[in-house]
Subunit: 408 residues, 2 copies
């Protein structure tokens, strides 16, 4: 085994499981006998400033690991730094190489989404070219579930459980009155509709679920939407709609685009918000009835108090596996889930070349969406359902969930 | 004991505990030996149409009661009917009297907030005047915690626990990046700031809490707000603000008023939304930094998956007590909590004249708010804290909380 120390970073948007994966990578590093396990504060950005913590010292026992695993959002801090192409900015890479040498870092683990996998790809390619032997491994994380090569992503199951639970509660709430009303629930998902699809989960077992579910994989058509609503009103006065923030009309414009400034982040993604609000105004004008839009917003990605046990256990496991694969000599890879069977649910872990994953998006297949494009199929829900199974008994203190806080 | 049957109604906005109180009233009626226990579907509105269900038949055993108690939002349905003054609309009252006689209803329980207590007052006064002997009892329910005569209200503890937990999770989430950013969390509370005050709960035990907390009890001043933000930025780049939807400027205008249509409901309350959005836009213009507003919206009042054990147990108890007090001959009253001590927390139940409660609002006392008006005091948090203590092991089925659904 390559001798040297490890550094672990977290990157991209928070999830309720990213710390469970951090816990898993640390456990794997310990198991592999890696001596020093550094945590990079604020990802690659902090690493460039040598802002690190000692994870072995911070995580002393299984109780520490448990509290870390139930803490939402990156405990190490995150960043959204877009790594430059090495040719264009060799300084950043030589700076990193210098830091790796200084701390004898031979293992680099980056827990993140597809943008973070782009960092893993560039870094492993550069270090290889520079003749510095090290293992660079990506560990998946994203509530969006849209990474290529892996059956699903850590963090998705907990977000899906939160969304399905919250939408079911909203359905109870909106059903109390008899007046005609539309409730629009806006759910995250810029390009992939996996999160929005989860809103339909109660339907899998015959419980009330949203009447209409719109994913970004199908063009949104206002006339069809009005027709769908009119049909739903024939069944009951309280219509609930789940819609992805990323739905677009056929001309390629986001439905929520009109109500916002259209700022793009450093990766060129447009910030979306206001899709629910835009539909709320449209429905109010068309139907004149009571309309409310609810943006699930940040809580859907950081609800540590309602984790999926399956998700958290898997998140720890994939972190551990990434460390062990790296210790076994692999590099430039990402740990991935392979679904062996749906019922009983069984998943194994493999690794895949990072080049196949970086910057790719795994959308909801068209066959998982009904013909009309206003809901998902039973097959889709059967794919999602195993990922939300099981609950955890989280540690509460003074009535609130206990969190693991690392000073930065 | 007055012989006859009982009818129970739920009214006003949903909470996560209103069904626990329903469960308690049924348990109390059973204990008192009341034979038929009807549920009025959609409150007084449904009762006028004789839409009722048989609660004895629906709630067969303790398992049924348990699932009902963990189900958010009025299982019987609700209404927002404003009862007319008897002189102005004697027909409504004589219709009710007729229905009471037809079903031999001698016990009427109404679970609701201050508008519902207005219904209890009018009904008990009318029936008394009409010489129809019956017991009319109010049972408190409101997440707002703003009913007079009672130390607190069932439903508040669970909403407060959800708000404190969610705000704490949002704090974890927003702290992951290093860029200057303001996150504004808009919390329910038209006139009373009890819910918004709960956002500060993590501070009671030294954990990170919102930097700034604005309640409707103090006029909102934009210049002070900007100064407060500038000071908060001196401490850290991620500033979190909790604000009540009901904050007003000194001229009496709601901060969120500009961004909405100003529709009023049947009780004359203005619908508020957009307070967070209004502040978001103001901060963006003033500071030019990243700003996000999060409206906790309906989930804060219907998050059955994160109930406070104290709240749910008390909600059952107060329902039971209301039934037993009625069986003992009381009428025109509401069951109330009396806090005996804070630490150890101890509450007892009394009854109070409904006339003292109907249409009154119990605000957060000025002494519970700091001098600057931008946060609550330790004393305030010590009052709230006991109400969020304890968790429940809820029944999940297929990964989602099980709900008790009554067909309407």
């Amino acid at each position: 085994m390559l001798k040297g120390n490890a550094v672990i970073g977290q990157s991209g948007g928070p999830t309720a499981a990213i710390n469970a994966t951090l816990s898993g990578v640390v456990l794997g590093c310990k198991e592999a006998g890696i001596e020093k396990i550094y945590g990079a504060l604020n990802g690659i950005e902090g690493l460039l400033e040598e802002r690190m913590c000692d994870l072995r010292a911070l995580l002393k026992d299984s109780k520490d690991h448990k509290v870390l695993e139930q803490t939402p959002a990156a405990a190490l801090g995150s960043c959204r730094k877009k790594m430059p192409v090495p040719d264009k900015d060799p300084e950043t890479y030589s700076k990193l190489l210098e830091i790796f040498k200084k701390y004898n870092i031979r293992y680099f683990f980056y827990i993140g989404g597809n943008d973070s996998m782009d960092t893993v790809l560039k870094l492993s390619t550069y270090m290889n070219g520079a003749g510095y032997e090290m293992r660079v491994m990506g560990v998946p994380k994203t509530i969006d579930c849209d990474l290529a090569e892996t059956d699903h992503t850590p963090g998705y199951g907990s977000a899906a459980k939160y969304i399905a639970t919250t939408v079911q509660e909203i359905m109870r709430d909106t059903a109390v009155y008899t007046v005609k009303a539309v409730t629009i629930v806006e759910i995250m998902g810029r390009d992939a509709g996996w999160l929005t699809a989860a809103a339909s989960l109660p339907a899998l077992h015959g419980n009330a679920a949203p009447d209409l579910v719109y994913l970004p994989e199908v063009y949104f058509n206002f006339e069809n939407f009005y027709e769908d609503l009119a049909k739903a009103f024939e069944k009951h006065p309280n219509v609930v709609v789940a819609v992805s923030e990323g739905v677009r009309t056929e001309d390629g414009r986001y439905v929520g685009e009109g109500t916002q400034s259209g700022v793009a982040d450093v990766f060129g993604h447009k910030y979306l918000s206001g899709t629910g609000k835009a539909l709320e105004l449209a429905v109010k004008e068309k139907f004149g009835c009571k309309v409310r839009s609810i943006e699930l917003n940040l809580p859907q990605r950081c609800a540590g108090h309602l984790q999926s046990r399956t998700d958290i256990e898997e998140s720890v496991e994939i972190g551990k596996a990434a460390a062990l694969h790296a210790a076994a000599g692999e590099t430039g890879k990402m740990a991935c889930f392979v679904r062996e069977s749906n019922s009983p649910y069984k998943c194994t872990i493999k690794t895949a070349d990072i080049a196949k994953i970086a910057n790719e998006v795994r959308s909801v297949p068209r066959s998982y969406i009904n013909e009309r494009g206003n809901n998902v199929t039973k097959e889709c829900l059967e794919y999602i359902s195993p990922l939300i199974q099981g609950e955890l008994t989280n540690v509460f203190e003074n009535g609130l969930p206990k969190h693991f806080v690392i000073e930065r």
